[in-house]
Amino acid sequence: MPFQKKEFPDKFAALSKEDKVGLLRTMVRIRAFESRVEELFLNRRIPGFVHLYIGEEAIASGVMANLSKNDWITSTHRGHGHAIAKGAQIHRMMAELFGKTTGYCKGKGGSMHIADFSVGMLGANGVVGGGYNIAVGAGMSSMIKKTDQVAVCFFGDGASNRGTFHEAMNIASVWKLPVIFVNENNQWASTTPTSFATSVARIADRAKGYGMEGYTVDGNNVIEVYNAAAALVEAARKGKGPALLECLTYRIKGHYVGDPEKYRTKEEVQKHFTENDPIIRYADWMKGKGLIDDAALATMKAEAEKEVADGEKFAEDSPLPEKEDAYNDLFSFSPSEFPEVVK
């Protein structure tokens, strides 16, 4: 899929070795989490729906490395990777997927509603295209309070066809809000190919309609994602307004765990995974530069797997909610103050 490349300043080059390794570690941690979650779901240890981020890790890792905990993101139904990259703790995420009280949402949210507000992760979202206006509102907060905080809205190719996209992009441009719209174009909206459902070949082209800058990058190249996000986040922080960044990637797994995937061939999927795995690509690049070796990579993966295993143990050992916990968290006040609320 051809696209016009924009050369962003190579901010990546100036990163420390530690930070460069950090980009890889984030991806490896997401992959370890998602791989185990897939197994747990198939073994019926996790209920509900689970949507995996496998193969798209470079986007969350590359974008989030440009944000601080004071910045905000809104996420999608495929939100585990965003949460981990933004700084959410794996054991509390796992506890949430298990429906335990120690989970981020005390077992009230599950996979589609993972959030850690304490690190600026304003929530996964069960409604496709539900995050745009929340990100716009966060941008408004930054404007009203005159801070330099930035909001990043992650959204899929399918979500780019929602009406909310239009209203959010327009106001962000008109008010020059510090919001970066990061499109994760993974080629598939559930069972529908992007090319079938979307009026433009490049979603980044839609930015023009809003007088906004729009760029497309290889979303499986973490260096490209990092450099593009660095430029756009910095501009937004300086008050130069929003931008749209389309990151081309591929959804390696089904729409949800358990998806029979009758709409595409196994060969197509396998080709993308073997030729275009963002982790292998970046690890190979780093090896070539002498920034990491096989032993260090193996250690990194083992550490990530241990972190996930520890998280799973924590989740298993954590208590389930009491039935009456259902009454809590609806409002800022206690249900006993207003019994009619939960009559």
């Binding site: 949402c105 929530g123 409604v127 206006n133 009203i144 106001i171 409002f331």
Partner: protein
């Protein structure tokens, strides 16, 4: 006490809360250049530069952005122009705002107010005349208020802005120019508490918003027939202050619920259900409901008046629960 309009009362509430808290801001269509279609924002933009803002005609953004702003340290007030337009942004209200605190395990406060001018006015027809509280009654996670006078408008709006939960503030369009007494000193009207507007002993009328004054007038006329009516102004529609209602019904043994919205599936249905659940053996007559006919609000004033409930309907319902001819 001073005498000001309902519109001025909401303006005073906005001004006081914006002075008190720099994170309060307000946006909506035509509120800066026009001062709001009912003049309810006149002068505010000059007093608070940058914190009173016109927005594009983008209802999903207007409602959805309020959530994002509320989650990130500000207290937005979003004006809907007309309550009818909540329909455009229903997902934002129902699936985002109402669910956020619960779904995420109580991680954040959601201090936002959706101001929604509602009700029948001057042949505004089907898409600009609705009372839509029934739409949101079925959604856990929202607070809904509906003032009936300048004093309650000011006190409830101030409380709504300070509330750390999403509040829908229904303000009836006909009320804006009406004058009424408002305390000179600062005050808050508590959310979740109904008020007895007129004590009585024969029949309880439960009502809110514009219909409060119509019920009070009907009650005065019924006094001449020897009927003593107690009028309860709900003020908060969600959560309902059923204690006040049930206490009154236990005293009068009869209950009529009056609202401008259509009767079917309206708030009256919920209140009637709760009254029979909680005071069945105190009742001496069926609980009656008075509201608009189950039709869209039509344009021609003949049709508009026919569809809406009027004082005669109220009086008839009161007489009927007393088994009097009417």
């Amino acid at each position: 006490m001073k005498t000001i309009t309902f519109s001025q009362a909401t303006l005073e509430a906005m001004r006081e809360e914006m002075q008190r808290d720099p994170t309060v801001f307000v946006y909506g269509e035509d509120i800066v250049r026009q001062g709001g279609i009912f003049g309810q924002f006149k002068g505010l933009p000059e007093e608070f530069p940058g914190r009173v803002r016109d927005v594009p005609i983008s209802e999903t953004m207007i409602v959805g952005a309020a959530l994002g702003a509320a989650l990130t340290g500000t207290r937005p007030v979003a004006d809907m122009h007309f309550a009818d337009f909540i329909g455009v942004a229903f997902d934002e209200l129902v699936n985002q705002i109402a669910k956020n605190r619960y779904m995420f395990g109580g991680q954040a406060n959601i201090p936002l107010v959706i101001r929604a001018p509602d009700g029948i006015i001057n042949s505004a027809a089907a898409q600009h005349s609705q009372s839509v509280e029934g739409w949101v009654q079925n959604i856990p996670g929202l607070i809904v208020v509906a003032p009936s006078s300048p004093a309650t408008a000011k006190g409830l709006l101030k409380s709504s802005i300070r509330q750390n939960d999403p509040v829908i503030f229904f303000e009836h369009k006909v009320l804006y120019p009406q004058k009424g007494p408002v305390p000179e000193e600062e005050y808050l009207t508590p959310i979740g508490r109904a008020e007895v507007r007129k004590p009585g002993k024969d029949v309880t009328i439960v009502t809110y918003s514009i219909m409060v004054q119509k019920c009070e007038e009907a009650a005065m006329e019924l006094e001449k027939e020897g009927i003593s009516v107690e009028v309860i102004d709900l003020l908060t529609l969600k959560p309902l202050d059923m204690q006040t209602v049930v206490d009154s019904v236990k005293k009068t043994h009869r209950c009529v619920i009056v609202h401008e919205a259509v009767v079917t599936g309206g708030l009256g249905a919920e209140i009637a259900s709760q009254v029979q659940e909680k005071a069945f053996f105190y009742l001496d007559a069926p609980v009656m409901r008075v509201g608009a006919k189950n039709l869209p609000i039509a344009f021609s004033s003949v049709l508009e008046k026919f569809i809406a409930a009027n004082q005669d309907d109220i009086k008839r319902a009161v007489r009927s629960v007393l088994y009097r001819e009417g």
